[in-house]
């Protein structure tokens, strides 16, 4: 079964001028279609403004499409109730510190994710171990932890929801090289152990190549190339993909 099936997804935003006058619509996504097979990692690459984050927000129900259909686990996204949707798909944001409520302790943040379930303390303790955090982090507030630790807390929160699909939207861009490697290894471990389906959005081409099996190259709201990650990196067909790969600074 296909985990995600997206057909002709379109999203436009109104554009206003300097004096708040309506100037028309800007199409951020145009007829985007793709699918993700079970237990695979899909990488989405493209420049700023290519529509990557809008796509992530549509897939998680944070935005409604203007046209097109999204099927998650074979079911139309419009048929999901909010709670069911949050247990199916979760989003990890780019800036870990701003995605956590600064006024809540890590304990409260994680407890909210498992509210209502039995043995919540046991589940939190288990997930903390999996993401490589110690229990003493629970009493701290987001302002007291490092960027890498905050990203781990964000991942722990997502794991507590037991969502089948996780979208990570530029999860490494705010982190340094060592912390990036730690989070990449953590994602790999989670892919193997939890059988999750990961959508990895990034403009870091080397990392995407390392972690993803399938890839989607986006430019100005459209998918310009999609397919097997290694093949596309070796033999890019679309001029935009070639331009993107040529801009990559490697060792």
């Amino acid at each position: 079964m296909e985990i995600i099936q997206v057909n002709n997804l379109t999203k436009k935003f109104p554009v206003y001028g300097k004096f708040a006058e309506f100037q028309g619509y800007k199409y951020v996504l145009r007829n985007v279609s793709f699918s993700l097979d079970s237990e695979k990692c899909l990488g989405i690459i493209g420049e700023s403004g290519s529509g990557k984050t809008t796509l992530a927000r549509l897939l998680t129900g944070l935005l409604q499409p203007d046209a097109g259909i999204i099927h998650l686990l074979g079911k139309d996204i419009r048929e999901y109730c909010p709670k069911e949707l949050s247990q199916t798909i979760q989003l990890i944001f780019q800036n870990p510190l701003s995605s956590l409520n600064p006024k809540l302790s890590v304990q409260t943040i994680l407890s909210e994710a498992v509210a209502g379930s039995a043995d919540s303390a046991g589940k939190i303790s288990q997930v903390l171990k999996e993401v490589g955090l110690q229990e003493n982090i629970l009493r701290l507030y987001p302002g007291e932890i490092s960027g890498g630790q905050a990203q781990r807390v964000a991942i722990a929160r997502v794991l507590l929801k037991s969502a089948k699909i996780i979208i990570a939207d530029e999860p490494l861009s705010a982190l340094d090289v060592v912390t990036q490697a730690q989070i990449i290894l953590l994602f790999q471990q989670l892919l193997q152990q939890h059988k999750i389906n990961l959508i990895f959005i990034s403009h870091d081409l080397l990392t995407t190549r390392y972690i993803a099996e399938q890839i989607l190259v986006m430019s100005e709201g459209t998918v310009v190339e999609k397919g097997d990650c290694q093949k596309i990196f070796q033999y890019p067909q679309h001029p935009y993909t070639r331009k993107l790969l040529a801009a990559n600074i490697s060792l």
Binding site: E47, S48, S173, D176, V178, I184, L185, Q230
Partner: protein
């Protein structure tokens, strides 16, 4: 080559809970004129504090600085650490220019781009016509539209890449000798990143600038500089020519950093677990000892010196004091 900047026994302390904690520890570094060097290291290693010390913009009440940063603008020498604000402000921006990570944070959001450019060259006795011509020329130098309309735009109306080009134009407008770039492309996407770094390199070569690039990205350091200074917990742990650093990385930390970069699926990455020691922690031996895979008992007892191997300096007992064995 002539020295341009000599950093001698530089230590910087930040105030936390009424105590001053060391961020940079006895740093010694000689930068010669026309050199291109990269300062690399993890978050918290002291990279930005070093740049702020050179610019003398550390928060005065919250920090303490000791040692000296000698700047050689010509035949004379000036200690930037002890220079009065009046004198340092004539050097900062004019002779030593800096580009920071967040371009929008570097620009005044309430000022049009043209006004910022004009203010930079005002006071040189130039006519309005000449100032306008120089502003337009500065824009075209960084490949921005050299038009009167662009000069009227506010920073909020341009993209991150364009904003960083404006910052570069501002930095180069007064013909500096030394250009400090602190993670200039971290917030930009891959194509813009390359364009900005290429542009900076082109300007560095054209104007024969001395270039200090702060980055945590070793690929950028390799492609855009010639000398790699590796900082860890406020200390220089390795200082190598680029070729030596990448062909035979000496310090275990350098080897681990290189192994943490994803290259291909067939080459699994490894990482360094643990964190940089907190500022509060008093370190007697090697600051990397608690994360080092090649640690020896000696590493916890005594601080290693900087040992010379070929053209590199490395702070590790594996290479000196006969105690690594």
């Amino acid at each position: 080559m002539n020295p341009l900047l000599a950093i001698n026994n530089l230590s910087v302390f930040y105030r936390r809970n009424k105590k001053f904690l060391p961020v940079l520890k006895n740093l010694n570094l000689l930068i010669t004129s026309g050199e291109r060097l990269a300062i690399v290291g993890e978050s918290g290693s002291g990279k930005t504090s070093l740049i702020m010390s050179i610019l003398n913009i550390l928060p005065r009440r919250q920090s303490k600085i000791s040692g000296e940063i000698i700047y050689y603008p010509g035949e004379q020498s000036l200690n930037l650490v002890s220079l009065p604000e009046e004198q340092i402000s004539r050097i900062r921006g004019k002779e030593i220019a800096a580009i920071f990570q967040d371009p929008h944070g570097s620009l005044n959001p309430l000022s049009p781009i043209g006004k910022m450019l004009r203010e930079t060259i005002r006071g040189q006795g130039l006519s309005d016509k000449t100032i306008l011509a120089r502003c337009l020329n500065a824009l075209s130098e960084v490949r921005l539209p050299a038009t009167a309309e662009f000069l009227q735009l506010y920073p909020g109306e341009i993209s991150g890449g364009q904003a960083q080009r404006v910052v570069i134009a501002l930095a180069l407008l007064l013909n500096p000798k030394l250009l400090l770039a602190d993670e200039p492309t971290t917030n930009l996407d891959v194509t813009t990143q390359k364009e900005i770094l290429d542009l900076l390199l082109e300007k560095v070569n054209t104007f024969n600038l001395t270039y200090v690039l702060v980055t945590h990205n070793l690929a950028i350091a390799k492609n855009y500089t010639n000398r790699i200074i590796l900082l860890y917990a406020g200390e220089i742990v390795s200082d190598s020519p680029k070729e030596e650093f990448f062909s035979e990385p000496l310090h275990p930390y350098a080897r681990l950093l290189l192994a943490a970069i994803p290259m291909s699926k067939e080459q699994p990455i490894t990482t360094i677990y643990g964190n940089i020691p907190p500022l509060e922690e008093e370190i007697i031996g090697c600051s990397f000892a608690n994360r080092c895979p090649e640690v020896r008992p000696k590493c916890y007892q005594k601080k290693p010196g900087l040992y010379r191997i070929k053209n590199s300096l490395v702070r590790c007992f594996l290479y000196g004091d006969n105690s690594g064995k």
